[in-house]
Amino acid sequence: MGFLQAYKMAVKSIRSNKVRSFLTMLGVIIGVGSVIAAVGFAQGSTKSITDTIQGMGTNLIQISITGRNSNRNVTYEDLAAFAAENSEEITAVAPQVNAAMTVKHGTKNTETSINGTSPEYETIRNVHVQAGRFLLQLDVDYMQKVAVLGTAVVNELFEDADPIGQSVKINGQVFKVVGILEEKENGQTDSQDDQVIIPVTVAQRLGRATVIRNFAVQAATPEAVDSVMSKLNSFLEKIYKDTSTFRVFNQAQMLSTLNNVTGTMTVVLAGIAAISLIVGGIGIMNIMLVSVTERTREIGIRKAIGAKKRNIMVQFLIEAVIVTGIGGLLGVAVGVSVIRFVIGIMDIVPEVYSIPWILLSFGISLIIGVLFGLFPAYKAASMNPIEALRAE
């Protein structure tokens, strides 16, 4: 019996047992689909975090004041002076006062993060305006109520109108919009595009924050980062006497922390993926076992008329490959659709499609389908034809 004949037999058998074939496929579809969707979600989350950190600009050093000091706190002026002393290693310092507040325009309002800072922030964090202007030193010095909006805020508050020159209300105070930031993350909410930048002095008053607890420092080169950090540490130690009241850290540290987090997440999701593959695999196994057992009589007939074990096996192999193959392709389609339409539309994380995982889950389900299609077929084909014929 030729290959073509076996193929024809296989197709006939699949066609004449639609429910059985469909159930087998369903196992594969679920297995493959869930792996692809789960991995897509994990990798999307990782990408979103990595993007955020990398979007912060390079050579960035963060200072965070965590404790209280009875004598005095470090001020923006202290750090500006320190930066001036080390001007060959430090290019800029910016204060940061952050708070979540409601921004209103007309009848519309949105909750966003208010970022009080100085003009240096523009170069340090690599945020630029696409229209209007950024903060000026004058705005900071004279406590001007001006605001630079992220695109997510613009989308929420202004429909088609040009926001520049218009006013918004932050916590009841009127601000004039002077600029719009360049878009970094498609204007998604809760991204870097969802923020309003105002002068640090205004933010302090708005949030009743007398002490500035966060500063961003930019080192001149990546090589200077370590040296600047140690100098900052000793400078701050002189003021606070206690190293536990402040923290100096940089992007490299954040990235390595992040890598730990995403590493864990990948392991967890790989575990979930493995479980769904196993569950899908057991489904395939079950149906294959049942369907071949069901067909022992058929195998008996063919053995009785003298079909070789190999002839019978080839047919079952082709059947298993077709059913699990089609199931696998549908599973890929389901998984990709979940990423595209569920994850994509819910807009929590970016859409990421992992080709290796798609191939891996497809391959594994194919292997399971083929093994568990072939093994019982082999058992049946090894039976004495009389016994096989007696099976009902």
């Binding site: 006939k12 063919r302 009785a304 008329i305 003298g306 079909a307 002839n311 034809p385």
Partner: protein, 235 residues
């Protein structure tokens, strides 16, 4: 003197059922000649199927040997036994044993495409009276028609030997006679050796020889000097 096709030499088969062993067949010993029509007759459980299955290479005896044209098939391994079934034997069963998802023609093809000297399928199907039923599925055919497909499947391989285990057992009288006529015609026109099992005494009259069995033993081998054609059988 007729040519010997098969020698059944002192063949026994017993099944071990826990403590007890069932002797399904004891010391069967006879010869089968080329071109003859043999009827195996006996009550239920007398070992008819056991004997036929061993003759057809579907099962192995616990004792004794079987030679087909002087070649011992009882010593064959699984692969050679399969080849023997494929090339030398045509089997017809009581319950047809057709593949439900294949048409009549495809069921016959299933057998012919794996063996060497197969006959033309369409000729054979016309011969068994199924020229116009080739594309029917088993579920669309009567029992008699299904049995014709089974016979076509067995004959089309052009085997040495046609073994039929109660071919009329599931059919009514009229249809049964037609099937017997067909087997008789195949026996005469193709000069094929045909062995049929039955527990219907009347059918015995059409055989050249009748092997009577009881309790796993051959109790009598009767030679019919004047076998009557199936159309004149009555029961």
């Amino acid at each position: 003197m007729q040519q010997v096709l098969m020698k059944v030499e002192n063949v026994s088969k017993s099944y071990q059922m826990g403590e007890v062993s069932v002797n399904a067949l004891q010391n069967a010993d006879f010869e089968l000649y080329e071109g003859e029509f043999v009827v195996i007759l006996g009550p239920s459980g007398s070992g008819k199927s056991t004997l036929l299955n061993i003759m057809g290479g579907m099962d192995l005896p616990t004792e004794g040997r079987i030679l087909v044209k002087d070649e011992e098939i009882t010593g064959y391994n699984d692969r050679k036994l399969t080849a023997y079934r494929r090339e030398k034997v045509g089997f017809v069963f009581q319950f047809y044993n057709l593949m439900a998802n294949l048409t009549a023609r495809e069921n016959v093809e299933l057998a012919t495409e794996i063996c060497k000297g197969a006959l033309n399928i369409d000729d054979v199907m016309a011969e068994v009276g199924l020229g116009d039923r080739k594309d029917y599925f088993p579920s669309q055919m009567s029992g008699g028609e299904q049995q014709r497909v089974a016979i076509a499947r067995a004959v089309a391989k052009n085997p040495l030997l046609l073994l039929c285990d109660e071919p009329t057992g599931a059919l009514d009288f009229q249809t049964g006679i037609l099937i017997l006529e067909l087997l008789h015609k195949i026996n005469k026109t193709f000069n094929k050796t045909v062995v049929i099992i039955t527990h219907n005494m009347a059918i015995g009259d059409m055989g050249d020889r009748v092997i009577k069995m009881r309790s796993g033993k051959i109790v009598e081998i009767k030679v019919n000097q004047n076998p009557i054609p199936p159309e004149r059988i009555e029961w």
